[in-house]
């Protein structure tokens, strides 16, 4: 199974047509896939809170948005999640590279990884963790759930899900 293609296919099938991204090595393939889809408008952000602002505007303009980012972004975006996305009750699928989990080669990444789920739980953000490739089968249901309940929803995807890094 090509995970990148499956994620992009599910986004399109759920009418998600506005995607903002902040780069990540693990997410490079899915970002490429989205960039190359005619039915998705891809706009890279310089910072994740900026991206959430873009998504809020796109949603109010009638598009279904999504953001792709690293879990370090949870540290950047807590205020935006609480006072924009949640306060105005807007849906936002967050496809998150869960750096610092199993098969992570960079020790510093672990420092935010240990806080990630606790922060998401504190924010009452529904959170899913993709560890095995087959976990992606749930992605379609998660998107439907997100746009049903109008909440930000986190999909944490770790290095094992992406097949590790090139040197492993």
């Amino acid at each position: 199974m090509n995970i990148d293609k499956k994620i992009a296919d599910d986004l399109v099938a759920n009418d998600v047509s506005f995607v903002t991204t902040v780069p990540c090595k693990q997410l490079a393939g899915v970002i490429d896939e989205i960039e190359n889809r005619d039915d998705i408008f891809h706009i890279p952000s310089n910072k994740e809170d900026e991206g959430m602002g873009l998504c809020a505007g796109a949603f109010m303009g009638g598009k279904r948005p999504a953001i792709i980012m690293q879990n370090t972004a949870i540290g950047v975006t807590i205020n935006t999640l609480a006072t924009l996305t949640q306060y105005y009750r807007m849906p936002l699928p967050m496809i998150i590279s869960y750096r610092g989990e199993l098969r992570e080669p960079v020790a510093c990444q672990v420092e935010m990884a240990v806080h990630t789920k606790a922060l998401l739980a504190q924010l009452n953000i529904p959170t899913y963790h993709f560890h095995w490739q087959k976990d992606v089968e749930e992605f379609d249901n998660i998107l439907k759930y997100t746009f049903m309940c109008n909440k930000p929803v986190a999909i944490l995807t770790d290095a094992n899900f992406w097949g590790g890094y090139g040197d492993q």
């Binding site: 873009l54 998504c55 809020a56 109010m60 006072t83």
Partner: protein
């Protein structure tokens, strides 16, 4: 002129447009001067008016005016390259540049010193940047609307705030009312 005087003057122009208004006193002033369903008031999240406005302009064809402040743009400077590389023709960013953080007690920002937001916007790739003196705001805004191209306006004015009540409207109501106006 201070920001509230500018907003009063341009209210008849704003009335027919989709407006995303910056957090704090700017939204309170616009709400008190001329509340409209076409106004989206930010109640939190400093710095994202320009980004919300850009997302909205990209998602639908009506003209969008994002009313931002110098302090708020400084807090989200990454917005300028994103605007410079992506802004559609229906996007107007109007930065009320009074050289101070108005909502928090008029502490000075760097734009009142050496920093030039218009220059930064141009360097970020924004092709159509105009610097406007407060008294000329209405004329410049109308020109930007009629011009049909993405515009960044830097409106130079005095520091100061009008005393206006806080917005008590529920955020979900603000959003719903705005989304209905977008669709209308």
């Amino acid at each position: 002129m201070i920001r509230s005087e500018i907003l009063k003057e341009i209210a008849p122009i704003l009335r027919d447009q989709l407006v995303v208004c910056n957090i704090g006193i700017p939204s309170q002033e616009l709400h008190a001067i001329d509340d409209q369903p076409t106004n989206f008031y930010m109640l939190g999240t400093m710095g994202l008016a320009s980004s919300i406005g850009l997302g909205l302009a990209l998602a639908q064809p009506k003209t969008v005016i994002a009313i931002d402040g110098d302090g708020s743009v400084l807090t989200n400077l990454g917005t300028l390259p994103t605007i410079g590389n992506n802004a559609p023709s229906n996007y107007i960013l109007m930065i009320i540049d009074n050289g101070s953080y108005g909502s928090t007690g008029d502490q000075p920002t760097y734009t009142g010193k050496k920093t030039d937001l218009a220059g930064m916007a141009r360097a970020a790739g924004c092709d159509n940047v105009v610097v406007v003196q407060d008294v000329d705001t209405g004329k410049a805004l109308q020109e930007a609307i009629d011009g049909g191209k993405a515009t960044v306006m830097v409106v130079k004015c005095d520091s100061g705030n009008a005393k206006m009540p806080v917005i008590t409207m529920d955020p979900v109501v603000i959003k719903h009312r705005f989304m209905e106006a977008v669709k209308a």
